[in-house]
């Protein structure tokens, strides 16, 4: 329809943007790796393989997408590779034992991203088989209640993982995408009714179309919370769901009711669960127990202070004082070694991913499912990042979710990449 000449110039400028950003990301990762080697005093250590794997992933991904998905968003892939490459280096620095495994997961994740982005029927299948997917996801979740384990092997730790032989997989990560896709396709079907002009709003209030899924989701969150003690995932599901419902319907009362329900659930959980009580107490005032139960959060705050504006330099700070820093507290480690500058770059990069996702949603607004799916995936990344960054900074009670792309965790990395793959696919869809 539109002549090829026109699109070729536009496509090549997109490719240029992507390549320049990937080049910058690669340079930063290389400099960080060199600095890490020098700081460790072993210039030719084996962590160089990380850089080559990263280069192969970045260049390969860019070339494959230029060939098979020429009209994709030029920012999403470099941002993802930048953050995940940075994450791999930080894991190498903080917990060298896990670095190789994370590299393997990175390769698997990039391949999955490309597969999801290029495969043309993915979006249709997400819609067609939504009930099957939902039942499957819920079955996986229930199976963790029965068969679940914790890689750390501690007694009493939340058992959110399934041992699948080659490693541990966290089904709630996959369930995130399945739920967002399910809700997007459900709400897209209800779109004409939700958006009908001149309907009786008082009756819409009470329509099972709206409170049906609300109750379902709320029940699901309660199950996750009560049986799994997985506070972060429960609150994440609920916030993303409320946002989706608000965007689909446009009623402000949904946001108010949602906030009230979260507060109510918080109060009940505070009185019922010792975990929640602990988290809220040490958020309120961690200092009386700085050596005890609040040790992690206090060390995190000290790491931020030690980092200052420009940071200690990679390998030269001491983020190791924070227990399990390589997963939930990755943001604190970045802040200590790269300073406020590094934190700002992390926040800006994640925010940019979210902005591009919402931009895709606006471009796709004539296709309700595509728009809602893009909004849902962006909100997942945004909410999860805000929850953990706010928690690490003691701006809100700590909820144990990972920082997307940066934290150690195979299923988290894989599912974040799949989300980006879906967003890339959506951004290349015809308007």
């Amino acid at each position: 329809m539109i002549s090829a000449v026109h699109f070729d110039t536009e496509a090549s400028s997109r490719t240029m943007t992507e390549r320049v950003l990937l080049l910058l990301a690669g340079m930063f990762i290389l400099v960080s790796l060199v600095a890490l080697s020098v700081a460790r005093g072993e210039p030719f250590s084996d962590n160089w393989s990380a850089f080559f794997v990263w280069i192969v992933c970045a260049v390969g991904g860019s070339l494959i997408m230029q060939r098979w998905l020429p009209r994709h968003d030029p920012l999403l892939f470099p941002l993802t590779m930048f953050l995940s490459g940075w994450g791999v280096i930080m894991i190498d620095r903080l917990a060298p034992v896990f670095a190789d495994r994370q590299m393997l997961w990175l390769v698997v994740s990039v391949v999955s991203l490309l597969a999801v982005a290029i495969f043309p029927y993915g979006l249709r299948w997400l819609r067609t088989y939504r009930y099957l997917l939902l039942v499957g996801g819920l079955a996986l979740l229930v199976s963790t209640i029965v068969f679940g384990s914790n890689p750390s092997g501690q007694i009493g730790a939340p058992r959110l993982w399934l041992n699948i032989g080659i490693g541990f997989f966290q089904p709630s990560e996959a369930l995130k995408i399945i739920l967002v896709a399910f809700l997007a396709s459900y709400l897209a079907e209800q779109y004409p009714a939700l958006r009908a002009v001149g309907t009786d709003h008082a009756r819409m209030w009470l329509s099972p179309r709206i409170y049906g899924p609300v109750l379902l989701m709320w029940g699901l969150c309660v199950v996750v919370l009560v049986w799994q003690r997985d506070l972060g995932t429960a609150i994440l599901f609920f916030i993303v769901f409320i946002t989706l419902l608000y965007i689909a319907s446009g009623y402000t009362w949904i946001l108010i009711t949602g906030a009230a329900l979260v507060a109510l659930a918080g109060i009940i959980a505070y009185n019922q669960f010792s975990v929640v009580q602990l988290r809220v107490d040490i958020w309120f005032n961690p200092w009386p127990e700085a050596d005890g139960r609040a040790f992690q959060i206090v060390q995190s705050l000290l790491a931020f202070a030690a980092g200052g504006v420009f940071g200690q330099g990679i390998g030269q700070g001491s983020p190791g004082y924070i227990p399990v820093v390589h997963s939930d507290f990755m943001f604190a480690a970045v802040a200590e070694e790269f300073g406020q500058l590094g934190s700002v770059v992390v926040i800006a990069s994640i925010a940019m991913i979210v902005v591009r996702g919402l931009h895709t949603a606006i471009r796709q607004q004539r296709r309700a499912f595509n728009a809602l799916l893009a909004v849902g995936l962006s909100m997942l990344i945004a909410t999860q990042s805000l929850l953990i960054m706010g928690g690490v900074l003691k701006l809100m009670p700590l909820t144990g979710v990972t920082l997307p792309f940066l934290s150690y965790g195979g299923s988290s990395l894989l599912m974040s990449f799949v989300m980006i793959g879906l967003l890339l696919r959506l951004s290349a869809e015809e308007l």
């Binding site: 539109i2 002549s3 000449v5 026109h6 110039t9 943007t17 320049v20 950003l21 910058l24 990301a25 340079m27 930063f28 400099v31 960080s32 060199v34 600095a35 020098v38 700081a39 005093g41 030029p74 920012l75 930048f82 420009f310 940071g311 330099g313 990679i314 030269q316 790269f338 300073g339 500058l341 590094g342 700002v344 770059v345 800006a348 990069s349 940019m352 902005v355």
Partner: protein, 147 residues
């Protein structure tokens, strides 16, 4: 002492690269915003007119109808077109007149009776200039560009 200096230089480089990264993101977003604004303005801007003509005995007479020329002007019988024509020999989605890379192109949208340019059938997209006459069914349009 040597290691300290190297580490300091590397820290500096890493910091500068982080700032360049932020700057690059900003530039990309800014360019994206500018082109979105331009696109929005371009779709509303008119570049000239299409003057309605009628062909009688080999000479053209003005019908008095003048249509604004947009960067993408569609002609056809369907009401969704930029120029809706009421002609039995025109198709619902008949033809495009579009500005691409500084040139005006005429493109037939696989209409049943075809589109003509100065009396000749248009088989594939073709560049048109000021004064050319486009034929849709029994109707004729003369391209008049703003200077």
């Amino acid at each position: 002492m040597g290691t300290d200096v190297i580490l300091f230089v590397l820290r500096l480089t890493a910091g500068v690269l982080l700032m360049v990264w932020l700057g690059a993101l900003f530039v990309v977003m800014w360019r994206d915003y500018r082109s979105a604004v331009q696109e929005a303005q371009a779709s509303r801007r008119t570049y000239g007119q299409l003057i309605g003509l009628r062909e009688i005995d080999g000479s053209y007479l003005r019908t008095g109808q003048i249509y604004p020329l947009l960067s993408l002007t569609s002609i056809g019988r369907a009401p969704t077109n930029t120029i809706t024509v009421d002609d039995n020999f025109a198709s619902n989605e008949h033809a495009f007149v579009a500005l691409r890379n500084g040139q005006w192109w005429l493109e037939d949208r696989r209409s049943r009776n075809g589109t003509t340019l100065n009396g000749m059938m248009v088989k594939q997209p073709i560049v048109i200039t000021d004064g050319d006459v486009i034929g849709i069914g029994q109707l004729r349009f003369q391209l008049e560009l703003d200077r």
